[in-house]
């Protein structure tokens, strides 16, 4: 779509930018093919593709427990949940494609290690209770973020979020139900649930991004209606919902400074941002394994994709007999 992505050196840039910002201020959605600043496009490609990669990499920590799910019902739910994540990845890759980037380019960026994905998936899933905890905390945090992004000014991303949030709500619900059941279960189940909460609480807070003061992209993203709330605001919403619910199960949270302030907000103690940036920078416990698993699937699938292309080029399908 040449000419649709404006840069400050374009003669009519200031005029077009003013029109663009006025549209956003009126609450209109920007659609594929509309004029938009190149920087708006760049930021959206970055965010949507990161989001898609997060869904795809996010299949790994949970997918690893499908073969060990302890009941027929849990097994069914977990396969469906991981399948949903693949579906979200596919949907988001398509949303990013509307901005003129191909899935192959995005995959290449992921597999080469250039593209980022949510740092939360670089933590290991050590026990079965992690599956419930991921649903409750990680999907819970994701829903807060995605509900905000459903208001996003870019139409395809906004609509993707509406649809994805609906499914994530089920993921959240089954996770919460599981952790509550184990909190009321045997001593071993309870201990397993507590251990999982202890390990996932801080990474869940971190996954909502750095504090506003340290978030380099936030200002322009808010002005252009890509983000409609700051990281700290979304984080506060997440804690206000989840902290009291977890404490109500009788499980504890691994933050001795956690308390409710006079306004009713649950205040957390200091977040270990050193750990966050270290994981983002590639030094989390699972960064190398996650990327390696994606690369292996891609490499081992190469002959399959080649066969598909060769077959499509021949086009002599056998009449279907079912």
């Amino acid at each position: 779509m040449p000419g649709k992505f404006g840069t400050p050196t374009d003669p009519d840039y200031a005029l077009r930018l003013a029109e663009f910002e006025a549209r956003i201020a009126r609450g209109e959605k920007i659609e594929p093919g509309d004029w938009m600043p190149e920087e708006y496009r760049r930021q959206l490609v970055r965010m949507i593709s990161q989001h898609a990669h997060s869904e795809v990499v996010g299949m790994l920590p949970e997918g690893a427990w499908i073969t060990r799910a302890p009941s027929l019902k849990r097994k069914m739910i977990l396969i469906a949940k991981v399948q949903d994540e693949a579906g979200h990845g596919q949907y988001l890759y398509h949303a990013a494609e509307t901005l003129g980037i191909s899935r192959e380019e995005m995959l290449e960026a992921l597999l080469s290690g250039r593209a980022k994905y949510s740092s939360i998936f670089n933590y290991p899933t050590l026990t079965w209770a992690d599956i419930g905890t991921i649903g409750w905390l990680v999907d819970g945090a994701a829903i807060k973020n995605q509900t905000m992004l459903a208001q996003c000014s870019y139409g395809p991303y906004s609509r993707a979020m509406v649809r994805i949030c609906a499914e994530e709500t089920f993921h959240h619900k089954q996770g919460k139900e599981m952790v509550i059941a184990y909190a009321k279960g045997t001593p071993k189940q309870r201990q397993m649930a507590q251990d999982a909460i202890n390990r996932w609480w801080w990474p869940a807070l971190m996954m909502l991004g750095p504090h506003d003061a340290d978030s380099p992209n936030s200002e322009v993203l808010i002005r252009w209606g890509v983000k409609t709330k700051s990281n700290d605001t979304v984080r506060q919403e997440f804690i206000n919902e989840h902290a009291p619910e977890i404490l109500a199960t009788g499980l504890s949270l691994p933050d001795p400074e956690l308390h409710q302030d006079p306004q009713g907000n649950w205040r957390h103690g200091p977040i270990n941002w050193e750990e966050f940036w270290s994981v983002v920078g590639g030094n989390g416990p699972m960064n190398k394994e996650r990327l390696e698993a994606r690369r292996r699937a891609h490499t081992e699938g190469a002959w399959v994709r080649e066969a598909l292309e060769a077959y499509a080029a021949k086009k002599s399908p056998i009449p279907m007999a079912v």
């Binding site: 027929l72 991981v82 693949a86 079965w128 002599s316």
Partner: protein, 252 residues
């Protein structure tokens, strides 16, 4: 139903469920590791369907003898399982997985179509319901066999190798359980020997049209569902590890 027929039906329902459960397990191992994202979605869907079918057959058994489906799935040992050995084999490459699913889908389609006429209404109803899903599976796997068979030299070679590895095992799907003739006599389940001809004709035609070489040497053909491959023990050790981890746990 006579006590003898009931015992035979319980055994048959268990074997049907075990086939689905173990196949679902093998398919689900691909989730997150498929060759393209769309296939992660499709195969996860098939794995869910097969798991759902296992639950259906186990609930039919539960109606007869009251056994809890989860106890059967997660607390039986390998020698108590009655799955066919084909379904226990490790997932292999994409050609191996798609071919196994195809051979099994084709067998199931014949079995279910015939079983919709069962004189035992719960079997007839379950078969009709499952049949609707199995048609989609067969469309999907049949198309994959064709694409891989006619794709590249490598995909054809891999598919041919998978076929040679699975052909003998697939024949076990048509070996009746001890006592199954009572059920056939009462019209409760179809006779496997008669289904086999249709199956053989259909798969031979499709495999040959897809560029595969048949006939094949018989290979190893397992007979009794009381015997298993060396893979089943470790598959169950993994599958049952959480359920058996806490002896006191009543709810998972």
């Amino acid at each position: 139903m006579s006590p003898k027929a009931q015992a035979a039906l319980i055994a048959k329902l268990t074997a049907l469920a075990d086939d689905e459960l173990i196949l679902s397990h093998r398919d689900s191992e691909w989730t997150g590791h498929g060759p393209i994202l769309e296939e992660d979605i499709a195969l996860a869907n098939i794995a869910q369907d097969e798991l759902g079918h296992a639950s259906t057959w186990l609930s039919l058994r539960q109606a007869l003898d009251g056994t809890d489906p989860d106890r059967l799935a997660f607390f039986r040992d390998a020698e108590e399982f009655r799955c066919a050995q084909l379904l226990e084999l490790p997932k292999g490459d994409w050609a191996f997985t798609m071919l196994r699913q195809y051979l099994f889908d084709r067998y199931e389609l014949h079995w279910l179509s015939a079983a919709t006429a069962s004189t035992y209404p719960p079997v007839a109803e379950a078969a009709a319901k499952i049949l609707r899903e199995e048609r989609f599976h067969l469309q999907h796997t049949q198309a994959w066999v064709e694409r891989l068979g006619q794709g590249t030299e490598e995909s054809n070679r891999r598919l041919q190798a998978a076929l040679e590895g699975q052909w003998g095992y697939a024949q076990q799907l048509f070996v009746p359980l001890p006592g199954e003739e009572i059920l056939v006599g009462e019209g409760i389940v179809p006779e496997l020997r008669r289904l086999k001809e249709d199956w053989l004709e259909n798969v031979t035609r499709h495999l040959q049209a897809s560029g595969l070489k048949l006939p094949l040497p018989p290979g190893y053909q397992p007979h009794s569902r009381e015997h298993h491959t060396e893979h089943l023990w470790s598959l169950l050790a993994e599958m049952q590890s959480v359920a058996r981890w806490d002896a006191e746990a009543r709810i998972w």
